[in-house]
């Protein structure tokens, strides 16, 4: 058995699977997005009580935090946990595990082919719920849904690569008539035993998503091209980052930025007044607080090749800088120099952590 098909919508089917896992005692708790039982707002719940799963929203097109980042705090898990992750959240978790910020031990990873999520400020709106059924219809037909985040529209990594379980949604026309749960590993098959539904030996066929993948690639080119500033070099950077208010919200929500204290918030970026006076006498004018662009370039250097394009940085930016698209564009470029794809494979080593004697010889 490698597939169970449940006669329910994707969302209900996913919840039924989670209930099976928790109800049968195969896992101790489940980490999933849900509607908070007290407030009704979306959050991420670690749910240990089957009734609590009535509020689960495992595949809702919303991201309130990168669950891959949240998952770190729950690992190493002392008891089995099932975890619902969007593909970009899973990739983020893989990158975190490579940095010793988490462990796969005792985890059943469930992911799905993702149609993208809506911007955070829309997802908290009153009428957001009304748009969800239409969203799933469009996603099933392989559309890029109008209104989802630009970063999601341009995401080519919407098929999970390291999941134990894949729920087929995006580009899968059959997902409107039932929920297909693919069991990719022995552990998944073992855990799914006893799950009610039609069992078969079908394996996940990536061809289902091929058409959507082509659309996403075209969209990505469009998004990346639109980022070109009019000016070159520093002028272009000032054009893009000039309105940054220095809140560092982008770094604080980033699943890859795992430093407890960012270097740019540390003492090493404090300057004394004589330093400013010297700068002033040389340049005539200074922007305060300093290092606005330096922060973004520094963060890019530190994490861009591990950027999974989850888009949270753009969601939290108070001045609407397209941070996610910029970092994704730069990140893909740097990663490609090393044939690296962030979060694709746990075995792939982080380029800057690996010493190769023969590398970039053309640099001399």
């Amino acid at each position: 058995m490698s597939r169970v098909r449940i006669d329910m919508s994707s969302s209900e089917g996913a919840v039924a699977f989670l209930k099976h896992l928790l109800g049968s005692g195969k896992v101790s708790a489940i980490l999933t997005m849900r509607k908070n039982p007290g407030t009704g707002a979306y959050d991420i719940g670690l749910i240990a009580d089957e009734a609590g799963l009535d509020n689960a929203a495992p595949v809702a097109p919303v991201m309130v935090a990168n669950t891959g980042r949240v998952l770190s705090s729950l690992t190493p898990a002392v008891k089995p946990l099932a975890v619902m992750l969007k593909p970009c959240e899973l990739r983020a978790f893989v990158e975190r595990v490579k940095r010793d910020q988490g462990s796969f031990e005792n985890l059943l990873i469930i992911s799905y082919t993702c149609g993208g999520v809506f911007p955070l400020d829309e997802a908290i709106g009153e009428h957001f719920q009304d748009s969800i059924p239409d969203y799933f219809r469009r996603v099933a037909s392989g559309e890029i849904v109008e209104g989802v985040r630009e970063t999601c529209k341009a995401c080519e990594h919407f098929v999970p690569t390291c999941a134990d379980v894949t729920i087929s949604i995006a580009g899968d026309r059959d997902s409107t008539s039932g929920c297909s749960i693919y069991l990719n590993t022995d552990r998944a098959r073992e855990m799914a035993e006893g799950l009610e539904g039609k069992q078969s030996d079908d394996e996940f066929d990536p061809a289902v998503t091929a058409e959507l993948a082509v659309k996403r690639t075209a969209e990505k080119k469009k998004v990346f091209d639109s980022l070109a500033p009019a000016g070159d070099g520093l002028d272009g950077l000032i054009e893009i980052f000039g309105k940054c208010v220095g809140c560092h919200g982008c770094g604080h929500v980033c699943p890859i930025c795992y430093c407890v204290l960012c270097d740019f918030e540390s003492h090493s970026f404090d300057y004394n007044l004589p330093y400013f006076e010297k700068e002033l006498s040389e340049k005539g004018s200074l922007r305060l607080p300093p290092d606005t662009i330096f922060f973004h370039l520094g963060r890019m250097t530190h994490m861009s090749f591990s950027c999974v394009g989850c888009g949270l940085c753009s969601d939290v930016c108070p001045v609407d800088i397209p941070v996610a698209n910029i970092f994704k564009k730069v990140g893909e470029h740097t990663a490609s120099l090393f044939d690296y794809v962030a979060g694709r494979d746990l075995e792939e080593e982080i380029p800057v952590m690996v010493f190769k004697e023969e590398e970039f010889n053309e640099l001399g």
Partner: protein, 388 residues
Amino acid sequence: MISDPEKQGAAMKAAGGIEDAVRGFLREALKSSAADAVLVPVRTPAEDSYAWILTNDPSVLDNARPAAPTMPVQGAKALKSLTRKGEGKAGIIAVMRPCEIRAAIELYKLNQVHLDNITLISYDCVGAVPLQDYISDPAGSEKRFDSMLKAGKTDDSAVKPVCRICVDFSLVDSDIHIGLIGQSGGSALLVPNSEKGQALLESMGMACGEDISGWTKTVAQMKVEREGARARALAEMGTRLQGFDGLSATFADCIGCHNCQSVCPICYCRQCYFDSDASRQDAASILDTAIERGGVAFPGNRVMFHTGRMAHMSLSCVSCGQCSDACPVSIPVADIFSYMAGLTQPTFEYTAGRNDGEPLPLRHFKEKEVEKVHEIVKGAEEEEVAHE
């Protein structure tokens, strides 16, 4: 440096608008070496926002907007980045909103800002356009703000909610204040508010013989109106925040990004306790809690973070509204914190940033203080005894 109602000011011609007059004043200050540099908001090259620029170049001031329509970075934060590590030799003039100056005074008390070589200039503030409004429509925001500034009157629909109920919109603990309210279009008042301010005006040959009582009166009247509006808004907020359920509902959408704290001028901790290892639970105990209670929410400690931050900084909160501007899920953080500040500060007869000589309540031990607490404790004890 508390204001003296008997004092006098200097008249400043402002035929080309108030900001033009201030630019002229600053240029003159640089040229006459009354100041070595000035710190003012300057429009970004892409004309999509403003940035604090420290300059000694009079020509840079052509692009300055001393009263910028919006407040992307709290001025006290700019001042902190400049002076946190101590004094230099340069004399610097900083032109800021009253709430920015008040924050600077609080940071001065917290040893995060040095003011010996800084001359603070404040002005009658008509409020600031919410950052999101400005970013989505810079040209329209400029227009709306300009007409407010010209009329010297706040348009409630154009400014941040906390600006609508701000009672400290005029003279604060600055060195020089620029009076705009109730002035006939062609002029403004320069009011010296400290010896340093007086000396600067004198060194620039500006005579302070102008009667300012008319301006003082108009400001006082406006304050009375604002106090009424403030009381009403705070009462409404008090109802909304009732009990844990009220708090929980208010912060329901919080995603724990801590942007509110990052942009807060008062939150000066390099690392917030709530971002530190000390506030983290280990994996096993989180799971235990989930099993015990049925579930655990992430991001966690929502109410705890906000009430914790409140406990730490509400005595110094200047209600500048930056926290609301930076919140990605539109929680009215500033209104909530301003409400709390309105309760905590009067308890200690303290107003954040009112006077640099007023000690911070929590850093100043008084043997007799907040006697009400003693009464409450005594009452509770007596009740307990009676109960037994």
